[in-house]
Every structure is written in C-alpha cells, then in structure tokens.
Amino acid sequence: MSDNSHTDAHNEPDYLRASTGIKSWLFSVDHKRIGVMYLIATTLFMMLGGLMALGIRLELFTASGDLIDADTYNRLFTLHGSVMVFLVIIPAAPAVIGNFVLPLMLGAKDVAFPRLNLASFHIYMIGAIFLIASMILGSFDTGWTFYTPYSSTTNGPVAWALTGVFILGFSSILTGLNFIVTIHKMRAPGMTWFRMPLLLWSLYATSAVQLLATPVLAITVLLLFLERLVGIGIFDPSLGGDPILFQHFFWFYSHPAVYIMILPAFGIISELVSVHSQRKIFGYKGIALSSISIAIVGSLVWGHHMFTSGQSIYANLVFSFLTFFVAIPTAIKVFSWVATLYRGNIQITPPMMYVFTFMALFMIGGLTGVTLGALSLDVHLHDTYFVVAHFHYVMMGGGILAYIAGLHHWWPKIFGRMYPQKLARITSITVFLSFNLTFFPMFIVGSRGMPRRYYEYVESFTWLNQLATVGAFFLGTSLFVTLGYLIWGAIRGPAADNNPWGALSLEWHTSSPPIEHNFHGQPTVDAGPYDYPEESSGTDSSSQWVPA
C-alpha cells in the first residue's frame, strides 16, 4: 500500500529538519510548521482553560460557596469560556489540522498566501496576549458573551478582552480567506471538486463562515469598545440604544462560530470513518453538499439564543423552524457515516475509537440541541445546566474529541513517529466514560432548574454535582495521559510508515514527515479519495496518487 519508491529516490531532509533554530520556526512560512506552532499554542491554552474548568468543578463540589468567592467564580467561568472558544476550539481544527493537511491533500506545495498564513499566526498570538492580559489586570467577569449593559458599564478590564477578541477575529478571517483561495486555485491536475477528500469540503464551508461572520463580530466588539470609551449609545438604553441589538450582533457571529467549531470535526470524521473501515464513503456528494448547506442555514439561526430576550414571537417561530432544519443536513452526515461502517472492514485503531466516541457524544449533543430549539421547552431550559451540558456535548464531545481523533490519525504524518496504540485505545475509553460522568448529570440538574453561572446551588443537587466533579478530574487526567503519550510518540515513538492506515488520499503518498515542499514533483490525480475495493469485486484499492 505504501508506494515509497518515488520518495526514497531522493535524500531531502523533512520539514522538521530542513532548517534549525527558533527563528526558523517563528518566522517560517511553511504551512506544516505553522500548523505545528498552532498545535503547541492551542494545547497550552487548552490546558489553561481546562485548569479553570477544574477550578469551577471544585467549587461546585459542595452546594455552598466555600472554596472561592463569587467574584473569583465569575472570572473563572468567563476566562474558561473565552479561552476555550476563542483560543482553542475556533482555531484548533482549521489552523492545526487544516494548515498541515489542506495543501498536502490538494497536492499543492503550500497555501496560496504563505506569508499571510504566518501573519495569521502572529496575529493570533498577539490577540491571545491581550485576552490573557485581561485575566491578569483585574476582574474580567462578563462571561464570554459580553452581554450589555453589564459589559459596557462594569469597571473590569473588558476593553483588553475586547481588543483581544477583535485581533483574534482577523487571524480567523485571514486563515479562512487563505483556505478558500487555496482550494480554488491550488488543486493538483485532475483534482476536481468531487475528487477532493471530504475534509476539504468541510474546511471550505468553515472558511466561508469564518470569512463572512467574523467581521460582524469585529464591528460588534468595536462598537462595544466605543460604547465604553466615548459612550456612543448604540447599546445603552439611557441614550436610546438597545441592548438586544448587541445580542443580535453577537449571535450573528457566535452562532455560526459553532459551525466553525463543528464543521471541521465533521470533515475529520468523514475521513477517518472511511479510512479506518477500509470502505468507500457512503454518499460522498451528500456529505460534501451538506457541509455547504449547514454553513448557509447555520448562519440564519442566531435568534434561537434570544427566545427569552423579548424577541418577537414571529421571529422566534422562524428561528425555531430553521434550527430544526439544520438537523437535516447533519443527519445526512451521521447516517452516511453509519452506512459507511456497515459491512466495512472496521479497524479498532485509536482514531477509530475516537470516531465512535464522537458519534455517541455528538448524537446526544445534537439531539438535545433540537430539544432546546423547541420554543416552549426553551423557556424552561434557558440558562440552565441543560444548556451547559448540551454545548459541552457538542463543543467538546463533538469538536474537541474529533480534533483529538484527527491528531491520532495524522500524528504519524506530522512527526513521522507512532504513539503507543494500546495505551491510546484504553485512554479513549476512559475519556468516553469520564466525559459522560462529567456532563450527563448536568442534563438532569439542568432540567430540574439548576441555573448556570451560579457558584452555589440547592442541597438536593449535591450528589449529581459531585459525580460531575469526580468525572471532570478523571477526564482531565485522561486527557493529560493522552498529551503525555502523544508527546512521547512524537519524540521517542517508533518510526511510522509513510501510510500506516492504508489511506488513499495524497498526503499519505509523500514521506512521513513530508519534505519541505511536500512532494517530489507535481502529483496528478485520476481517482476519488475513497476508492477502496468493493465487496466481492476482487479489485484492488486504487490510491489517488498517479505515479509519474
């Protein structure tokens, strides 16, 4: 399966060894190095956000507020949310896996604008510094949603956080722009749109949302900034402004941002489910086009965050209907994945374990989303722990775990070394169990009325909260072990084959790790990315790679 003949002929150093020194990394325009730098940065921020989550769970171990005071608690959940959303989940899958894999999958030497790509990373780091500064400089406690009028009147260092989010937005816009142009203009000869691996379709949809929704967040935080600075009055009721307008503006970005987080996850799962069951993907066009339709319809559902904010009942009806509607293209994907597995040659590899984890958790997260989209139920469940449980099942159980699945899949390609398989399989099971132990009790306490963002609660919720706290520490430990064996694998692990999973797309047909310019010569393509042998047809699987 690994036709290495064309790579062994040359003796070029791989991208990790092509040049040395810290500057050769920090100022590298190589998309692979930029991807690895994003990997390191997002991992550090994920640890920071995770520690804050553990602090929150520790406080909620008992019903009374005894460990930290209310203000500290407010700061903790604000920073946990801001760090995880803006610094981890939004950039993780597109900027780490997308950056590394996208040009390789297309058969290109780099993205269309490598210097802009490096600029995106530098802008991201500057934005991160501003956001973290708001944590050190005082009490930033508005929640990651920055709702007015509290955010425009409180004395905390909100302006620092707003500046950080504004800057981070530009990083996201430029990455999206770069990927769209790259997919349009840099495809290898023969790489038609419907021969592209499905990850690229989902990254295309993600990039479109990044490009078109993020500027609205930029103008929103800019207006909030001006509101604080000179009091322009747009969100201030005492000057005739309307705080609800802020919620419209904010969710016009931040709901589509949910799809920035989950669409790349869908793409990763589409790749993995086919490769690790050695079976042609079921419903290629359905999966590809459902990504586009999720991006379009998902941009029109922001009002479902505001069912109880005093929005008109007719607007509520439309937003509720559109929210239900998004379930259709999403279900097309899930059923296609299950149909791909049917009679497939399923390999119980670590990436596949995480694919199963994703499917179970995402189904729960997705279906409770439909529950929350129902107008009458939402009035009861709004701002309760039911919502917290729902979006953690989607964001973490869906987004982050699919990203971790992708890391396990492409790790041997990124570093040329393999992590311990058995340990990885065991950890994936403990992640699955502890995740449910952490977040499932939140559905129960939430449906019984426990509100979010309070540091105390009534006595009767104690044992369920204690389950969640115990689960959170198991989850943290499991993820820490995962990080440990992945780092060990990258440095000390056994050398990996060029194509350890028997995949057919282009990135597996260059060396592991790839050379600086990705391929020797120009790859050409004359087949789809999932042409595994049909059952009982006796044909061989045919790779996308056409030997020169």
Binding site: A112, P114, I173, K185, M186, L212, T214, P215, G231, I232
Partner: protein, 215 residues
Amino acid sequence: MSEDSVERPAWVEPFFHSADQQRSAASLGMWLFLGQEILFFSGLFMAYIAYRWMYPDTWLAGADLLNKQLGALNTVVLLTSSLTMALAVRATELGEISKVIRHLWATIGLGVVFLVIKSVEYSHKIHEGMLPGFHFSSDGLENNGGLFFGIYFALTGLHALHVIIGLGLMGWLIARCKKGLVNEERYVLAENIGLYWHLVDLVWIFLFPMLYLVR
C-alpha cells in the same frame, strides 16, 4: 506539468505553477477580502436602520443638521478619485508606469482633499456640541440626538480610516512602481488596490444619501 515547461518569470513564487495562477489567486483573495469588508460595515448599517425605524423624527432632523453642500462636494471628490484610480490601473496594464505614478498622485491628492473637507465638517459638529452619546450637548436635536451622532461619527470615522489606509497603500504602490516591481505582467497589486479604493468609494455612495439626504 505542462506549465513548468512554459517560460516562468522569476517573480512567480515557487509554490505556484504559473504567473496566471499567482495572479488569479491574488485577485480572488482580494474579492474575498472586500466581501468581508462589506460585512464589517453591515453591523453599523443595521444599527442605522434599526434606530431610524425606532426614532424616525430624530433621523430626519439629524440629516438636516448635516452640511449637504460639503457632503455633495466630497461625493464629487471621491468619485473623481475613483476615475483617476481606474486610469492608473489601466495604465498599469499597458505598462505606462510614469502615467501610473501621475494618476496615483492625483488620487492621493483627491483623497487628502476628501479628508480635509471631512475634518472641516467634523470640527463644525464638535464645535456645536453634536458629539456622540452622553457628550452630546446641542439644543438642535431632541430625543436621542446623541445616538444619531454616535452612528454618524462611527460610520464616517470608520470610512475615513479606510480612506487613510487607502492613501498608505497607494504610497506603497508608487514606491513599488519606482523600484520597477510593477509592469504589464505584474499588474495585480495595482488592480487590487484599485478595487479596495472603489469599495471605499462605494461605501461613501451609500453613506452620503443615508446620512445626509434620505427623507
């Protein structure tokens, strides 16, 4: 690759096959960038629409307080600058670089005139106390006049910022022209800066009637 055998100019980046691929990538990138610019402005346009609907009388009275003559003059200035910019882009494609530089200087000059007129308008408004939000102290506009001028200053200020960035881009383009980095083969940068300038113009074409004229 067949393109590899075709003659390949030295300025084509190593990760592109051909000059055409590089040019079309840069062009598409600029169009996408302009798309996100429109969405960036859209937030303020939506705020304008929402509050115009809530306070129609304030908006009508506010428009009357703005100086229509200066606004109209600025519209003419900016439209003319779009013409000189279009001439500069055309001259680039023909390779007439000294003409390009002349047209760019004319565009910069008109852009500066626009900013001067705008600052005259601003200083009048500030002088009369027509400031945003709670700084508003004019008697001329009742019922949330500060909100109208908040949106006025935010929209026109953001537009002026784009004009200033455009002037910087044109200065950079002139420097590249003088270094011989712009010619009939390498025209995309000029084209892209031209597109940006036309967008800045287009935003003003909407701002002027919305703020000054609509009854």
